[in-house]
């Protein structure tokens, strides 16, 4: 009969928990959770950063999938690559799939061949003069003697000037992959893993469509499995779509592992210390209530929640798991929980308001992620405190003798004796400060990639595949905005001309331009104008062929095609839309020439490859004086954005700290008391920064967010220990016991994240682990001297 009765007494608590859980799930389901990293970047302030943000979110690069296949002999890898290529092309999910086997379709070849004298860069007036024709005819004859004659005979007579061959050569120039067994291979093969077949695919869906990206990656993996790879053959996939999926999977795996471990350890710890499972349930109530309040407020204000804001927000609300523990451990013998709640309320209220105030300032930030975080904390923390004060005492069954074991006497004695060692603490703090000054402040993370939750190994693979595929390192991008596609293409041609001398002298490895695939109408018309009329060409050709064994009719098709080309309408982007005929050309053009959002015209991209002299590039482009031309150094520009985001966060933290000090001064009766209470907290932050720097961590936004959690936690410790100063020794021991219990709980939850592989989670874990330990120790050591017993 005891168990059911016990359960019945727990019913209100369980019901409240179930209700909160269901409400949280409902809110999160109803509101979209976004995962766009740009949400944690400030709004663009320059044309360059606006361009970069747009490219980061919707640019062609976001639809790219880079694929490697390794772990088998070359023929098997080639077979797999071919099977994969066919399956992907057949799936309809991809705008372009390249692995070396993509032949140009018959219809497209025909289209290109028909337009060869308009599209080919070889076409100049001189090409159709007798001397050039003579040289070409001799070369043709020479070629016909050789082994490639069947191939040459097919197009050589229709195009003796080689315009078509030159057109195809211009398309494939700059390719860095090696062709083995008919497909692309990494050249040289990556060390250690043997040969690697390469494939590149561009999804038909945009990068913003994360679901379609996920499906495309799934289709890729399924196609690989369906090709029945030999044992040992591995598929390596990279690209933004994969990043999103893998990052989510990595975080999920990390969290599943850590939360299972942490739940087990925490349950064991609380069970040991409080001798009842009740404590675990109690600890969850204020946290769940705080998350619900915070998430609802953010959803109402912003219409969506950023995934990272939610994650960080819950991390920061982690401090509220301490509230029930503080409540229970502060209870004096014979006191009811409601009485305790009433007694500690001023301190708890001050602690939670101060923690919330420190974060609330961020609401004013124009970085959406930070603003959401601020709002989340501003509502979540006080809600948790209120729930602890008002609801929690009612949920605990009156007869439940929930009470913490006293600290082991030696530990209690050691903790009580800590204030006598404050000299050591000050020395340590001075040392940390000196160290930080000596290394020039905490080292800042200067890589935007590190802000993304993608594991470092995946990022390294991405860099490697990119290098092997010759996908350009997007260090510098040249963008050109123009009112029409034609104007954008003309601009691209001028960029190409301006940079040609740099390519020639090796200052620039190569340049990808939309005009390389589709010349502007102006250029096509200029080439038309270079074509001689039929009679002239026939006479010149006859003169050029004198003495050579060509029959008079051999070049009839050439003559007819040149004549037809003189009046052919230029090929435009509109001609490529729809239909199979222009699909490869359109696929190559799409990433380089695209309409700007909101019908603001067109954008052409010039992508330099292996740029050795950025200054020369800038100078050559500046001399063009093209309106709408933008040279963007991606790295510097993103760095500026990240710096701005971090500066903003720091600024709002500073404002928050000032508000906190003001609140403390008001609550504790004077600025001196406020500073004394805040000292352990400031010291903990200092020691944490020094500790992280010693561990080689580079400071990023996550560390800052974790410091905010630390600040909230440390505030409780300092306030509760300071509150007990001057009280009888049992009261002081009780306060220290509270802090020790809270510290260990925090370490067992957030501290365990330090063992995660995901950079974000590890950063939070490390910061919190170092920070809470320091905050607790400093709170116990730097108890305000004025009220400490002599």
């Amino acid at each position: 009969m005891r168990a059911p009765a016990g359960l019945r007494r727990l019913l209100p608590l369980l019901a409240v928990l179930a209700l909160l859980g269901a409400a949280n799930a409902a809110v999160l389901r109803a509101v979209g959770v976004t995962t766009d990293m740009a949400g944690f970047l400030p709004p663009p302030r320059s044309e360059a950063s606006a361009f970069l943000l747009r490219e980061l979110r919707t640019g062609a690069a976001t639809t790219l999938l880079l694929v490697g296949i390794e772990g088998a002999p070359v023929p098997e890898l080639a077979r797999l690559s071919r099977a994969l290529g066919e399956a992907l092309r057949a799936s309809g999910r991809f705008a372009f799939v390249g692995n070396g086997t993509e032949g140009i379709a018959e219809a497209e070849q025909e289209l290109l061949f028909r337009h060869r004298y308009l599209l080919s860069p070889a076409v100049t007036p001189a090409l159709f003069e007798t001397p050039a024709l003579r040289a070409r005819l001799e070369a043709l004859l020479d070629g016909l003697r050789g082994a490639a004659s069947p191939l040459l005979a097919r197009i050589g007579f229709a195009d003796p000037v080689g315009a078509f061959v030159e057109l195809l050569r211009a398309w494939t120039a700059g390719s860095t992959v090696a062709l083995r067994a008919g497909v692309w291979f990494a050249d040289p093969p990556p060390s250690g893993t043997g040969e690697r077949a390469l494939l590149i695919a561009r999804t038909a869906a945009t990068g913003l469509d994360t679901e379609a990206q996920r499906e495309a990656v799934a289709a890729l993996r399924a196609a690989f499995a369906a090709a029945e790879p030999a044992p040992g053959a591995r598929l390596l996939v990279s690209g933004p779509g994969v990043f999103a999926a893998e990052a989510a999977a990595a975080i999920r795996a990390d969290l599943a592992m850590i939360s299972a471990l942490s739940a087990a350890l925490l349950a064991a710890f609380l069970l040991w210390r409080f001798r009842t499972p009740l404590m675990l349930l109690l600890a969850a109530v204020p946290l769940a209530a705080g998350v619900l309040a915070g998430a609802t407020a953010v959803a109402a204000a912003f219409g969506e929640i950023h995934g990272a804001a939610l994650g960080f927000g819950m991390t920061m609300l982690g401090v509220t798991a301490d509230y029930p523990i503080l409540l229970v451990t502060q209870r004096r013998p014979g006191e009811s929980l409601a009485e305790t709640a009433r007694r500690v309320w001023p301190t708890l209220r001050l602690a939670s308001l101060a923690a919330a105030a420190g974060l609330t300032a961020m609401v004013l930030s124009d970085v959406p992620g930070l603003a959401q975080l601020g709002l989340f904390a501003a509502l979540g923390l006080p809600t948790s405190a209120l729930v602890t004060r008002l609801l929690l005492p009612r949920l605990v069954p009156p007869a439940a003798g929930i009470e913490a074991r006293a600290l082991p006497p030696p530990l209690a004695r050691a903790l009580l004796a800590l204030p006598r060692r404050r000299g050591v603490a000050w020395a340590l703090l001075a040392g940390a400060a000196l160290y930080l000054v000596a290394i020039g402040g905490p080292p800042a993370e200067d890589d935007l990639a590190a802000l993304s939750p993608v594991p470092a190994a995946q990022r390294a693979l991405d860099g490697e595949l990119r290098r092997q595929l010759g996908a350009p390192d997007v260090g510098v991008l040249v963008a050109l905005a123009a009112p029409t596609a034609e104007a954008a293409l003309q601009g691209a041609e001028r960029i190409g001309e301006a940079l040609a001398p740099l390519v020639a002298r090796g200052a620039l490895g190569g340049l990808d331009l939309p005009s390389r695939y589709l010349p502007s109408e102006r250029t096509q018309r200029a080439r038309q104008a270079a074509l001689p009329d039929a009679a002239t060409l026939r006479a010149r050709l006859a003169a050029a062929a004198a003495g050579l064994p060509f029959r008079p009719t051999a070049f009839d098709r050439f003559l007819a095609d040149v004549e037809a080309s003189r009046t052919l309408p230029p090929l435009t982007r509109a001609d490529l839309a729809g239909g199979e005929a222009g699909s490869l050309l359109a696929a190559r053009l799409a990433p380089l020439l695209a309409p700007l959002p909101d019908g603001r015209g067109w954008q052409a991209l010039a992508v330099p490859n292996d740029l050795r002299e950025p200054e020369a590039l800038r100078a050559a482009l500046a001399a063009l004086r093209l309106p709408g031309l933008l040279v963007v150094e991606a790295k510097a520009e993103t760095q500026a954005l990240v710096d701005a985001a971090t500066r903003q966060a720091l600024l709002w933290c500073g404002v928050g700290a000032a508000i906190v000090l003001g609140l403390l001064a008001a609550g504790l009766g004077g600025p001196a008391a406020a500073l004394r209470t805040a000292a352990p907290l400031a010291g903990a932050v200092l020691l944490t920064l020094a500790g992280l720097a010693l561990l080689g961590e580079r400071f990023a936004l996550f560390h800052l967010v974790s410091l905010l959690l630390l600040a909230g936690v440390g505030m409780d410790y300092a306030l509760f220990v300071a509150r007990s100063a001057g009280e009888p020794v049992e009261e002081r021991a009780r306060a220290l016991g509270s802090v020790v219990h809270c510290t260990l709980t925090t370490l067992l939850t957030f501290g365990l994240l330090a063992f995660c592989a995901t950079p974000v989670l590890r950063a939070i874990g490390l910061t919190v682990a170092i920070g809470t330990a320091c905050a607790a120790a400093l709170a116990a050591t730097l108890v305000p001297a004025a009220r400490a017993p002599s």
Partner: protein, 191 residues
């Protein structure tokens, strides 16, 4: 109907036997080729094209190294080295300083010409049959003719027929018909 069944069986057996007889000399020839690990020869090639009013002549050497390396070195009037090894085809023009490497899979117009000679030299009937319908006439030990008709429509558009003639395990001539033109190669095995 036991009689009809036995009758059918006899017919099938007879057909099989005929097939086996037709196959046997070709297989014998292929075995003879497979036994030769390396060989060298001189060649003279004559190309006729409808666009040209006289044939183009060229000469050079051929060398074969089992299992899959074939080199055709043209020495006059142009210099050119065509080397096939495995799936890779290398075409070098030393005077122009050009060197092209391509995969045979990507060159449907060239591959059958390569395999017609290479697979025969290797004695690889299976490879030959992957690309051609094979018709054999003559005596594997004496004079023989092998007529190869491309199987794929795309190849057939470029090369309609390849005929090899030879004596014993030596190819003496290759004649191919493509478009409106002919290529005839006379081969003189080196002793």
């Amino acid at each position: 109907m036991p009689r009809r069944r036995s009758c059918c069986a006899a017919l099938i057996l007879a057909a099989l036997a005929r097939a086996a007889r037709a196959e046997a000399p070709l297989e014998a020839l292929m075995r003879a080729f497979a036994a030769i690990r390396a060989s060298r020869a001189a060649f003279v090639e004559e190309k006729e094209m409808p666009e040209l009013d006289r044939p183009l002549l060229s000469r050079g050497t051929l060398s074969w190294q089992a299992p899959d390396r074939l080199e055709k070195r043209t020495t006059a009037p142009i210099e050119e080295v065509l080397r096939v090894e495995g799936d890779l085809l290398t075409l070098e023009r030393p005077l122009q300083g050009t060197r092209q490497v391509l995969s045979l899979d990507r060159s449907p117009e060239i591959r059958p010409l390569v395999e017609a000679i290479r697979a025969t030299l290797a004695g690889d009937l299976a490879a030959l049959r992957r690309h051609y319908a094979v018709a054999f006439e003559g005596d594997p030990a004496g004079r023989w003719t092998l007529v190869l008709t491309p199987l794929s429509g795309r190849v057939l558009a470029a090369v309609q027929r390849v005929a090899l003639t030879g004596r014993g395990a030596a190819i003496l001539g290759v004649e191919s018909q493509h478009g409106g033109g002919f290529t005839r190669m006379r081969i003189e095995p080196a002793r």
